[in-house]
Structure formats: structure tokens, C-alpha cells
């Protein structure tokens, strides 16, 4: 059932009345040369450079080393309970062996954990960004609330740039939340000094799996 339109229909009439009789209804064409970044180098290499420039820490490893790598990152973030994204745990059951990991935290646990480990739907090489989508098993909070967020990313998921990614997506298949994350949360509102970790994560690690 469609919800009704509330309020004053006059708005639509006012807009319609302001339209010119002669107008071009075809949207302007997007010239590839202008809208795409035209990255030719290997995507993983460019992604690493840009992600680090955006303030994220990237480690490139093979899948076999994932558990060890995560353990040491958790250690250096201060340990304690760790949030583990359910869909990532399903994809990689070995991660459930991480000590203290929670896939279904209570609200208290969500807000007290120091570390969250999450997957990514895609990544963008030009800007060093991580793309996450909401859905069952992919809650919004795990990549947002803890101070340290670790993203596990398969190298094959890296695409070129924001234009490439959005133009390639089916408009009818957008998730309730899609977020392109480019670095830890930051602010320059106090005296133009850049400080990370304002509301979202202050430390972001990307564990890039070269063979996935």
C-alpha cells in the first residue's frame, strides 16, 4: 500500500506553472572521458595508496593469514569484546574462533566494544573508499560505533571509482543504507585542526585479501 501524499498540493502546481513550454526532456549525456577517473594501473595498488592517504591503515595478506592478522590488530586496539558482523562470520566461519567475538551484541555490548570487524560490498580505487550496504546480517552499527573498525576486503571487489560504481548499480536494487566510507570520522570544526574519531570510528584498518 502506497502511503498518501501529505500537505499542500499547491507546491506541485506552482512548479508545473513555472515550466517553460520549450524544453529538452533528454538528460545530458555523460562523456566517459570526463566522468570516469580512467585509472589504468592495478586497482589494488591504487586503492592502497588512496586509502592510506585518506587515513586508513591497509595490510595486504593472503586468506590463510587472516585470523592471525585480526588477532594482532585486536590486541593493539586494546582487546576486550569484539563485534563480528554476522554475514562476515557466515562467509568465513573460522573468524568465530576470535576470542570474545560477538555476532549478536546487546545494545550495551555494542556501545562498549572497542573493535568491530565487518565486511565490505565493494571498494573504490580512485578514492580509497569502502562501500557497505545494510541488510540481514549486515547491521549499520558495527562499522560505526566502536573506536576501531576493521574491514575485511577481498581484492576482487575493488572497482575503479564512484561514478563507475553508482552508474553500474541497478536503481531498483538500492539497499536501505549504502555508505561509501573514505577514512576515519573526522572534524576540523575546532580551530581548523583536523581531529579523527569524532562520532564514528577514529581508527580504520582494511585487511586486503589478495587472493579473494
Amino acid at each position: 500500500m502506497k502511503p498518501p501524499i501529505h500537505g499542500n498540493r499547491r507546491l506541485l502546481e506552482d512548479v508545473a506553472a513555472a515550466m517553460r513550454p520549450q524544453r529538452d526532456t533528454a538528460p545530458p549525456a555523460h562523456e566517459e572521458r570526463i566522468v570516469r577517473s580512467g585509472i589504468s594501473e592495478p586497482l589494488a595498488g591504487r586503492f592502497v595508496t588512496e586509502a592510506e592517504e585518506a587515513g586508513m591503515h591497509v595490510s595486504r595478506i593472503s586468506q590463510g593469514g587472516l585470523l592471525d592478522r585480526l588477532s594482532s590488530l585486536i590486541q593493539s586496539a586494546g582487546g576486550g569484546p569484539v563485534l563480528l558482523e554476522p554475514s562476515l562470520a557466515e562467509e568465513r566461519p573460522e573468524l568465530r574462533r576470535l576470542p570474545g567475538c560477538l555476532t549478536e551484541p546487546t545494545e550495551e555490548e555494542l556501545f562498549s566494544a572497542r573493535v568491530g570487524i565487518v565486511g565490505a560490498e565493494a571498494a573504490l580505487a580512485e578514492t580509497g573508499s569502502i562501500v557497505r550496504t545494510s541488510g540481514p546480517g549486515r547491521p549499520r552499527g558495527m562499522a560505526l560505533v566502536p573506536m576501531t573498525v576493521i574491514v575485511v576486503l577481498g581484492a576482487s571487489r575493488i572497482s575503479t571509482d564512484v561514478y563507475d560504481y553508482l552508474a553500474g548499480r541497478d536503481a531498483g536494487g538500492m539497499p536501505s543504507e549504502l555508505v561509501i566510507i573514505t577514512g576515519p570520522s573526522k572534524t576540523a570544526d575546532i580551530g581548523m585542526r583536523l581531529v579523527t574519531g569524532i562520532h564514528g570510528p577514529g581508527v580504520m584498518h582494511v585487511v586486503l585479501l589478495e587472493d579473494a
Binding site: A171, V179, T187
Partner: protein, 467 residues
């Protein structure tokens, strides 16, 4: 317009505040330089700006179509749409939604439209609490202050002034340490984010084809607003539509770069309807309030191109006037070059008649605008739309007659020039004139010194064959 012209008073105050001037000047110069650097990294920035402009123009050309397609998409997703022709209708809609769900406290992400609507005051009257979650806006809310920049709302406050605010309002020790202050804000805000039952956001653009609203932020506050609260209200002006996701991608490539010199902002956030089956967080109800408030009246006329604006703030950072006086002096909701237009055109502030004159028409803003709005041309149009006041007409005609007389022959011109040079030399002290005479008095009144005239003029040197 009611009230007297208070613009000049505010400008004089701003110019006398050396702390403000230094803070604003440093911040704007830094931002503008960085913007140029990241613009230059694009494969074809001119091509991209032109395309962005054409996308905005095309959308405005067919706004009736795209608005109804956007509304259709929203409805398909179960998003409630509210139409508001005026600010009062928009505020009433927000309050009604809040009451419908019995919301007591709202968290809000930065929205210039909400400033235009004076929404926070309306919410307070309706007994609905609201907390601004962008750090800059939060500081201003504590201070009962107003934003002075589109993307950097507290640019007029230096570290000391932020530290004072925190000490006074949050009862924490005074510390001129941005990192510590940010830590305090993080802790304070977490409790509020968890308690709030309503989220109010703006909209950077809305994609007609998919019913997606796009929010661009750096602090993570936008994502936090849409984590715990049950209800989300998004406020958008009618002009914020784009046709398809790819069109949004074109604007996004320019928005972060122009606003804060980032290739992309930290969080580029796409919201397509409320939480769905099987999801455990995110708002359960989503409402979008689409606001006209003077915009449709601009669609058909000569000022239409102001509706292209994506509120990046690049024209503020480059503007020699903004750099000197900061944002508050403009007195309206929207400061800077674009503000001189919007204040009058949207009726969002006083002194709408004076503001178009507060420009040398130098054109720096056009160079910095990602959607190529010809701000100086529109300022001239606004000036010419004003009835020339009698007092001004008399003065202007007199001045032009005088200039004509002086410039008619070379001898008279040379004589006038020599006279002025002598007067300026006579008035100079240590090579500078700080109080210029007659017609040139305005220059030094604005707290600018004038260099003393040299002993020999260009004409003298030319005559002597030294040039």
C-alpha cells in the same frame, strides 16, 4: 523589507574584530588553496563542471517531471511525502510527525534549509528537544549562535573560543586542545544519540529514479542519527532532485572537492527508504518534507540559476569580501556571494536590498563555483531590479558629471590626478594614508590603509623617457 539597514553596522563591527578577521582569513585561504589543488587532479575539471551545470539545468527544466518521479519512488519504498509551500507549513509538518510518533528528542544533522525555516525555534515552542550533532553546529547551539559558513559553520570561532564554550556550557575544565575537546563532544553526544527517538536530516541530493536521498558528512554524525531513532525526517528544497544515480555521482565528484578539498567526504550516505525486513537497526519510519519556500517563484525568471547551487561554500572561501567580514555580517541565513543572492531571493534575512551592492563584482566566485553560477551577473541584475533611491540618483548623476568634466581633455585629467596625488602625499604618514579625503574616504573608512602616492607619477616618468 522591514527595519533599517543594519548591514553597514555589522560590517564595521566585523572589521574592528581582529581575532575574527584573522580566524576567517586563515581558514578561507587554506580551504581555497586546497580546493584548487584537488580540482587540478581531475582529468577535466572544466568538462566536469560544465556537465554538472547541465545536469542541474536539465533537472530544473523538467522539475515537474522529476519531482513527481521522485515522489513515486518514495511512495514505492513506503516513505511518507509531505509537501510544504512555506516555512510555516514545513515546520508544522515536522512537528506533526514528531507528535504522531510521540517523539521527545531529536538528533539533527546539518541542514541549511532547517536554518532557513528556523526549525529549531519551532521545535522548542512545540516542546520537542533537538540536539545539533555536527560538532560545529553543536558548539553554536551551546552558544545560541548562528552558522557563519555553509560547510564550516563555526569558522568564526578559534580554539580558545571553543574551549570557553565547552567550559561554560558543559562544565569541563578549560583546555585549548582540539583533541581533548573532540573527545568530550564524542562522549557527550553518544548518550544523546542513544536516547533520541527522532532523526532530522537535510538532503544533499535526491535521486528521482531510485528514491534515494544522499547525505554527505565527515564526522559520522549522519550515520549515527540514522542508527537508533525510530523515525527519520529528511528536509529538502524542491531543487535538490537529480534524475539518476549516475547524475548524483557527477555532483559528488565535485561536492567534496569544492567544499573541503576531499575527493569524497568521509561518509557518502545513500538512504533508500526505512529499515527493511530482517534488518536490526535504522529508522522504522521515514518521512520526507519537500519544501518550496520561495523556490518555485525563481524557476521561471532571470534568477533561476541560483537554484543550481549545491551549497559547497567554495564561493565563500574565495570571496575577498567574505574573507574580511566573515559570515555573520551578512545577517541572513546564507552568507557570502551566493548568500547575497539567496537572502533577497528567498526572503531569508534582512538587508536584502543592500547585500547585492556589497560586491566589487570581481568574479572570483564564478571561478570557484562547481556548477558555474554567474553570481556577479545576477548581482547586477538584482541591483538593476531595485528602484534607484532619489538621494542616490542625485549623488550618482553629480559624480558622473564631474568625472566627465575631468576626463574630457588630457590636460584636465592630468591636473586632477596631480591634485589628488598631492593631497594624498600631504596626508601620508610613514608611507601610508589612513584617512583619505573626500570621495576616496570610503576606502580608508573600511579600515584599509592606502599607500602614499609616489613623488613621480607614471605620466612624469613617461614624459621624461624613463619608461
Amino acid at each position: 523589507m522591514t527595519g533599517q539597514d543594519t548591514f553597514r553596522v555589522r560590517v564595521r563591527e566585523a572589521l574592528a574584530d581582529s581575532r575574527l578577521r584573522r580566524t576567517v582569513l586563515e581558514a578561507t585561504i587554506e580551504r581555497d588553496e586546497k580546493r584548487r589543488e584537488v580540482w587540478a587532479e581531475l582529468p577535466d575539471v572544466e568538462g566536469l563542471r560544465h556537465l554538472a551545470r547541465r545536469i542541474r539545468d536539465h533537472t530544473l527544466d523538467n522539475l515537474d517531471h522529476y519531482l513527481s518521479s521522485l515522489i513515486d519512488s518514495f511512495q514505492r519504498l513506503g516513505v511518507h511525502v509531505h509537501l510544504a509551500s512555506t516555512a510555516a507549513e514545513a515546520n508544522a509538518a515536522v512537528i506533526e510527525i514528531a507528535r504522531q510518533y510521540e517523539c521527545g528528542h531529536a538528533v539533527k544533522s546539518k541542514s541549511m534549509l532547517s536554518e532557513e525555516l528556523e526549525l529549531n525555534a519551532a521545535l522548542a515552542q512545540a516542546d520537542i528537544g533537538v540536539t545539533e550533532t555536527d560538532l560545529g553546529e553543536f558548539l553554536l547551539q551551546l552558544d545560541d549562535d548562528r552558522p557563519s559558513h555553509l560547510t564550516c559553520p563555526a569558522v568564526h570561532k578559534d580554539i580558545a573560543s571553543c574551549a570557553e564554550t565547552f567550559q561554560r556550557k558543559l562544565g569541563v575544565p578549560y583546555r585549548e586542545d582540539p583533541k581533548a575537546l573532540v573527545g568530550i563532544a564524542r562522549t557527550t553526544m553518544r548518550d544523546i544519540f542513544r536516547r533520541a527517538d527522532l532523526a532530522i536530516t537535510g538532503v544533499n541530493c535526491a535521486v528521482a529514479e531510485s528514491g534515494t536521498i544522499v547525505l554527505v558528512m565527515n564526522e559520522g554524525n549522519g550515520r549515527f542519527c540514522l542508527l537508533r531513532p525510530r523515525v527519520h525526517i529528511a528536509l529538502m528544497g524542491i531543487e535538490k532532485v537529480v534524475p539518476r544515480p549516475a547524475d548524483a555521482a557527477v555532483l559528488l565528484q565535485l561536492l567534496g572537492r569544492s567544499a573541503t578539498a576531499q575527493k569524497l567526504s568521509v561518509d557518502t550516505h545513500f538512504i533508500t527508504g526505512p529499515r527493511r525486513d530482517g534488518e536490526i537497526d535504522g529508522p522504522e519510519h521515514m518521512h520526507v518534507v519537500i519544501v518550496d519556500a520561495g523556490r518555485s517563484a525563481l524557476l521561471a525568471g532571470r534568477y533561476r540559476e541560483v537554484l543550481r547551487c549545491i551549497r559547497c561554500g567554495a564561493c565563500l572561501n574565495i570571496c575577498p569580501v567574505y574573507r574580511c567580514i566573515g559570515g555573520h555580517a551578512y545577517g541572513g541565513v546564507y552568507p557570502g556571494p551566493i548568500g547575497k543572492l539567496l537572502t533577497g531571493l528567498l526572503g531569508a534575512g534582512a538587508d536584502a536590498d543592500t547585500l547585492p551592492h556589497a560586491s566589487s563584482l570581481c568574479g572570483a566566485c564564478v571561478e570557484a563555483c562547481p556548477v558555474e553560477i554567474d553570481i556577479p551577473a545576477l548581482l547586477v541584475a538584482m541591483r538593476s531590479d531595485q528602484p534607484l533611491r532619489r538621494r542616490w540618483r542625485k549623488k550618482k548623476v553629480g559624480l558622473i558629471r564631474l568625472a566627465m568634466r575631468l576626463m574630457r581633455t588630457e590636460r584636465r585629467y592630468a591636473l586632477a590626478q596631480r591634485l589628488l596625488r598631492q593631497v594624498l602625499r600631504f596626508r601620508a604618514k610613514d608611507g601610508w594614508v589612513s584617512k583619505a579625503p573626500f570621495l576616496t574616504a570610503g576606502w580608508t573608512k573600511a579600515r584599509r590603509d592606502l599607500p602614499a602616492a609616489p613623488a613621480r607619477s607614471f605620466r612624469d616618468l613617461w614624459k621624461e623617457g624613463r619608461i
